[in-house]
C-alpha cells in the first residue's frame, strides 16, 4: 500500500521534497558517527520542517522555528558538544538487543499511528486560515493566550536561572 494519495499539485511536490529532506536528515542524524554531524543533520531536518510550516501557511512559526531550533537549539547543542569531550564512535560496541527491540517497538508505535491516521477520512475544511496570520497570532498571544504567554516568560526566566546556576563553576571550598 502506498501511503500517499497521489494528487500531483504543487503543494504535493513541495511536501514530497521537504518530507524527503526531513526524513533524510533525521535518519542521517541517527546513523552518522560524529556528534557534530548529527547535530548539523538534525538542523537540516528542522529547516525542512520550517519549509513545511511555510507550506502549511504558518510563516511566523516557520520563522521562529528557524530562529530557535536552528539558531538557538542547534548552536546550544554544538556548544554542549564542544564543552564536553566525545570519544570516537567506532569504539562503541553495539547493543543489538536494545536496538532491535527499540526498532521493533518504534515501528509498532508507528504502525498504530499510521493505522489511526489512515483510518480517518479527513474532509477538506470549509474555512481557511486568515491570510495574515502573523498579526492574528500576535493578537491572540496578547489576548486569548495571554496567560500562557506570561507564563512562558516565567518559564524562560526559570530555565535561564536554572541553567546558569547549574552550569556556572563553583570555587572549590578549601
Amino acid at each position: 500500500m502506498f501511503p500517499f494519495n497521489l494528487n500531483p499539485t504543487g503543494e504535493f511536490f513541495a511536501f514530497f521534497a521537504l518530507a524527503v529532506c526531513a526524513i533524510t536528515g533525521a535518519v542521517m542524524a541517527l546513523s552518522l558517527a560524529k556528534v557534530v554531524h548529527t547535530a548539523l543533520s538534525l538542523a537540516f531536518t528542522f529547516v525542512s520542517l520550517a519549509g513545511l510550516f511555510i507550506l502549511l501557511g504558518a510563516e511566523f512559526v516557520a520563522f521562529v522555528q528557524v530562529l530557535i531550533y536552528v539558531g538557538a537549539v542547534t548552536i546550544l547543542m554544538i556548544f554542549g558538544i564542544m564543552m564536553t569531550k566525545h570519544r570516537d564512535e567506532e569504539r562503541e560496541r553495539g547493543r543489538p538487543l536494545l536496538e532491535t527491540l527499540a526498532a521493533v517497538f518504534c515501528l509498532c508505535l508507528f504502525g498504530i499511528l499510521f493505522f489511526a491516521i489512515r483510518s480517518a477520512g479527513f474532509p477538506v475544511p470549509e474555512t481557511a486560515l486568515p491570510a495574515d496570520n502573523t498579526t492574528e497570532i500576535g493578537t491572540l498571544l496578547f489576548t486569548k493566550y495571554a496567560v500562557p504567554f506570561e507564563l512562558v516568560s516565567v518559564l524562560l526566566t526559570a530555565a535561564f536561572i536554572g541553567a546558569v546556576a547549574l552550569a556556572k563553576r563553583e570555587e572549590e571550598p578549601a
Partner: protein
Amino acid sequence: MIVFHTLTWSDAWYLAPELALVGFALALAVLDLMLPDRVNRDWIGWGTLLGLAVAALFVSWHICDLRRSELAGEPAVRDLLYGSYLIDDFGNLLKLAFLGATALIVLASLGTIRKDEIPIKGEFYYLVLPAVTGAMMMASSGDLITLFVGLELLGVSSYALVGARKRSGLAGEAAFKYVVTGGTASAFILYGMSFLYGVTGSTGLAGISRGLEQAVADYRALVYVAFFLMIVGFALKLALAPFHAWAPDVYEGAPTPVTSFLAVVAKGAAFAMLYRIFVRTVFLADAEAAALREDVSLALAALAAAAIAVGTAGALRQRNAKRLLALSGVANAGILLVPLALDTTILHASFFPEFLYYLLAYAFMNVGAFAVLTVVSRASGKEELSAFAGLYHRAPWTAGAMTVLLCSLAGLPVTGGFFGKLFILFGTVQTKAYWLGAFMLAATAVSYYVYFKIIRQMYMRAGAEEPAVRVPVPAGIVIWLCAAATLALGVLPRPVLDWIDGLFSIGADMLTG
C-alpha cells in the same frame, strides 16, 4: 472579526497567588545576586516561605470569595480568558495542598541542607517558587496550552532543582535522567494533545468536550491515539509502572527535599492536570464516547494496578531508604489514580474527595518521612535503611513520629493513610471494581513488610554506638507537624472531608469553563 479580551487589572487579582510567587521569585533572585557570599542563604529560604505563605493567603481569599458567590447564588467559578485560567475550588484546594506541602518541604530543608553539598543554595530555594507556580497552573487551567506550559514550567524548574547537588555525580545523573524522561513524557503528552486539538479543533477543554462526541464518531482511532498517547505521557510523569523505572534513580540522586517535592507536588500537579483533562473531556461522556470512557478507565485502572503491584513488590527489595520511598511513591501514585479509574455512577461521584484526601495524607506522610530521612542521613552520612538503625535510642521522639508516618504509609489505622485508602477502597466496592480493591489490599498487606523494615531498623537494631541524632528545629517542627496531621487525618477525617464536600462540586468545579 472576533473581539478578544485581554488581561485586565481585575484579572490580575485572580492571578494574585501566581503573581505573588513569581514576584517573590524575581525579588529573591535579585536579592541572591546582590547579597554577599558570606550571608547565609537560609534567608532566601525564609523569603521563599514568606512567598508561599502570601500565595496561600491569596488562595484562601479566593476560596472565601468563591464561597460567598456560591452562597449568593452566583456561579462559583471565575473563568479567565476563555478558560485558559480557571479559579475554582478544584484548583484552589489543590493549590493550597501544593503550597502547604512545598512550605513544609522548604521549612524542613532550612538548616538541613549544607552549602558544601548544594553550592547554589539561594537558587535552590527560590527556584521552588516557579516550580510551584507551574504546579498551580496545572491545577487551574481549562486550556491545553496553559496546562502544557504549566507542566513544562514545573518540569524545567525541577530539572534544575534535581541537579542542585552539583558536585555529586549522582545528582547530575539524576537530573539528566529526569530531563530525558520528562522531555519524552512531554513529547508524548503534547503529541496526544495535538491529535486532540486536531480532531476537535479546540485547545480549550470546554471546546474539546463539545467536539468530542463528533470526533469519536468521525475519527475514532485518532481520538484513541490522542488519549493513549497522553496516558503514556502521564504514566511517565507519574511514574506508574512500568513507566516508573526512572523514579528511584532520580529520587535517589536528587537532594532529599527535592525528592520530597517531586514525590508530592510534582506528582500531585500531574494528577491535577490528568483530572482536568480527563474529567472534563471523557469522564462524563456517554453515548458514542462511552466506550472510549470505559477504555480509558480500564487503561488507567490497569496502570494503577501495575503501579501498586510493582511499587510494592519492588520496595520489598530496596535497601536504600530513598529508593524505597520512591517505589512506595510509585505504589501510592497507583492508589491515587484509582478514584479516577472508577466509574462515576449515581451513587459514586466522590472521586475528587477520595483523591484529594489521600493526596493530603500522602503529602503529609511523605514530606514527614523525607524530612526524617534528611535528618537521619545527615547524622549517619548514608541513605541506606541501616541509617535508621537504633533510631529509637538515638532520637526517640523522631522515631515515634516516623513510626506514625510509616504506619500511615502502610495504611494502618488510625492514620490518614489508612483512612484515605479506606475511602478509595469504598469507592472500588461501590463501583464493583472489586479486583482493583483486592489488588490494593493485597499490596497493602505486602507493604506492611516494606515499611516495617524501617521500623525494625529503628527499634530492633542496636544504634551501633552512634551518638544521638541532632534534629534541627525547623525539621523537627515539620516532622511533628506531619505526624500530628497524619494522625489527625486518621482520627478525625470528618472536618476536612466536610470542608471539601462543602466547597467542591463536580458541576461547578470541573465541568464549567
